[in-house]
C-alpha cells in the first residue's frame, strides 16, 4: 500500500527529469529555481505533493508530513484547476476566479508553469545518443521532410477538393457567389421596404381622400 504511491511518484519524477534534461532551456530555468520547494495540495482526493527543484531537475515527494512553513509556496487546487494551470491558463485568472489559493511566492508558480509548458524537447539529440550523430540527423531530417511533405500534400488536397466542390461541380456556393447573393438579397430587402412604404403612403392618401369625400357630401 505504501509502496504503490512511491512507485508512481518515482515514475513521474523520472519521466519529468528525463524530459527536462532534453530541453536546452531547462538548465537555466532550473538554476534560477534551485532550492525552491512548492507544496501542492489537492482538494479531491486529499493529496499533498512537494516539488523540490534542484539544478538537474525536480524531486517529487509526498507532502502529507511536510510542514507548510518549509515550502516557498503552497497551492491548493482541484484536479480540474490543475489541468487548466498545466495547459497554460494564467495564474492570475485562476486566482481571481477563486479556483486557486496560493500562499507564499507566487513567482514560483509562474516559473513552474513556464518550466513545464515551454518544454522544447531536443528529440534529435536523444536519437543521436541511441543511433549516433549522422544516422540520427538523417532520420530527423527525413522525418522533418516527411512532415513538410505531409503539410503541403494536405494543403493541396484541401485546395483541390474545394475547387472541385465550388467551381467545377458547383455542389456548394463559393464565398464570392454567396457575397453576390447576399448583395442581391439586401437590394431586394431594400426594394421591398421601399415598396411597402409606398403602399402604406398610397393607402394613407386613399383613406384621407375617402374621409374628405364623406365629409364633403
Amino acid at each position: 500500500m505504501l509502496v504503490t504511491p512511491a512507485l508512481l511518484l518515482a515514475g513521474c519524477e523520472r519521466m519529468l527529469n528525463t524530459l527536462l534534461a532534453r530541453d536546452p532551456a531547462s538548465p537555466q530555468r532550473l538554476d534560477a529555481m534551485a532550492g525552491s520547494r512548492l507544496l501542492i495540495r489537492f482538494e479531491q482526493p486529499r493529496l499533498a505533493l512537494l516539488m523540490a527543484f534542484h539544478p538537474s531537475g525536480v524531486d517529487l515527494l509526498r507532502g502529507e508530513d511536510i510542514d507548510e512553513t518549509s515550502a516557498d509556496a503552497v497551492v491548493e487546487l482541484s484536479p480540474e484547476t490543475l489541468s487548466e494551470w498545466v495547459s497554460g491558463s494564467s495564474v492570475e485568472r485562476l486566482m481571481f476566479e477563486g479556483r486557486l489559493s496560493v500562499r507564499g511566492r507566487i513567482q514560483l508558480l509562474e516559473a513552474t508553469q513556464a518550466l513545464f509548458t515551454d518544454l522544447d524537447i531536443d528529440w534529435e539529440g536523444e536519437l543521436a545518443n541511441w543511433l549516433g550523430d549522422i544516422p540520427a540527423h538523417s532520420l530527423a531530417e527525413g522525418l522533418r521532410r516527411a512532415g513538410r511533405w505531409g503539410l503541403r500534400a494536405s494543403n493541396e488536397l484541401m485546395a483541390d477538393v474545394s475547387e472541385y466542390v465550388f467551381e467545377e461541380a458547383k455542389l456548394l456556393p463559393g464565398r464570392q457567389q454567396r457575397d453576390v447573393l447576399r448583395d442581391h438579397l439586401s437590394e431586394l430587402e431594400i426594394s421591398t421596404d421601399r415598396l411597402e412604404a409606398r403602399l402604406n403612403r398610397l393607402h394613407r392618401r386613399l383613406t384621407q381622400r375617402l374621409s374628405q369625400g364623406d365629409s364633403g357630401s
Partner: protein, 251 residues
C-alpha cells in the same frame, strides 16, 4: 547480557569474538563494494530504491539542514539529501568501510554532487562529531553489521540535535508466515547463488542473509531506540515486514 560481557557476538549464524566482527564485516563489504549497487537491484528486484524513497519522504529534511548518512555505502540517500539541503546545508556520508566510501564518493562526483557533501570514515559506535550537530540521521541497511548496536544508537542520539530525527531502514521480520517461508527459501537458496554468479562471492551473500535473521525484530529495535534516549519511536513495515523503517525523535 551485552555482547561485551560474553566476549562473543554473532557474525551471521557464527559466534565470533567481539574484536573480530568489525574486521570480518569489513572483509565482506570490501569484497562486494564494486558490485554493491547491481547486487542490490538484483536481490531486491529494484524495490530497495522505493524503500529509500520512503525514508527520504519521512526524513523531513529541508534546505539548510545538517544530515548524517551513516553506513551510506554507495551514496543513494546522500545524493537526494544533498539536493534537498541545498548549498546552505551539509550532508555527511559516513561509512566504516573505505572501499564502500570510495565507491560512494566516485558515484556522487559522477552525479555532480560537490561542495555540500563530506566523506567521513567512521565507526557508528563512536561517531566523531560534536553533540547536537545534526537535524537528521539515517542508517539504511547498516545497523545489523554494527558490533555493539546499543552503543551505536546512543552515539547517534548524542550527535542528533534536539528535535532531530533518526531514521533506521533495516531488514526485519515478515508478518505473514507464508511470506516468511518464501523469503527464507529465497534468501538461503537463491541469494548465495546469485551472489556467486554476479559478484563471484557466495559467502558474503550467505552472511547477508544470516545477518538479516539475527537482527532484532521491529519491536525489539523500537525498545532499543527508546532505551538509547529517543522519543516518539514508531515503525512502518514495508513489503510485508521484510524491511521496517523506524523513526525516533530526540526531544
Amino acid at each position: 547480557m551485552s555482547p561485551t560481557e560474553k566476549h562473543t557476538t554473532h557474525f551471521g549464524y557464527e559466534e565470533v569474538p567481539v574484536d573480530e566482527k568489525a574486521s570480518r564485516v569489513a572483509d565482506v563489504f570490501h569484497s562486494v563494494a564494486a558490485r554493491y549497487d547491481v547486487m542490490n537491484d538484483l536481490m531486491s528486484m529494484g524495490i530497495h530504491r522505493l524503500w529509500k524513497r520512503l525514508t527520504i519522504e519521512r526524513s523531513g529534511v529541508r534546505p539548510g539542514h545538517q544530515v548524517l548518512d551513516i553506513a551510506g555505502g554507495t551514496g543513494d540517500l546522500t545524493l537526494k539529501f544533498s539536493r534537498m539541503v541545498g548549498p546552505r546545508g551539509r550532508v555527511v556520508l559516513a561509512d566504516i568501510n573505505a572501499s564502500m566510501l570510495g565507491v560512494g564518493r566516485d558515484k556522487l562526483m559522477d552525479n555532480g554532487v560537490g561542495s555540500n557533501v563530506e566523506y567521513v570514515q567512521a565507526n557508528a559506535e563512536c561517531l566523531p562529531f560534536p553533540d547536537n550537530s545534526f537535524d537528521c540521521i539515517t542508517i539504511a541497511f547498516g545497523l545489523r553489521n554494527v558490533t555493539d548496536q546499543d552503543a551505536a544508537l546512543r552515539s547517534m542520539q548524542r550527535v542528533l540535535k534536539p528535535g532531530g530525527r533518526l531514521l533506521i531502514l533495516e531488514f526485519s521480520k515478515p508478518e505473514n508466515p507464508l511470506l516468511s517461508k518464501a523469503y527464507d527459501e529465497y534468501s538461503f537458496r537463491l541469494l548465495p547463488r546469485m551472489g556467486q554468479m554476479v559478484a563471484g562471492d557466495a559467502e558474503s551473500y550467505r552472511y547477508l542473509a544470516e545477518s538479516i535473521r539475527m537482527h532484532p525484530d521491529q519491536d525489539t529495535l523500537k525498545a532499543m531506540m527508546e532505551a538509547a534516549g529517543l522519543d516518539r519511536v514508531e515503525y512502518t513495515n514495508l513489503t510485508g515486514g521484510i524491511v521496517a523503517l523506524h523513526r525516533g525523535i530526540k526531544l
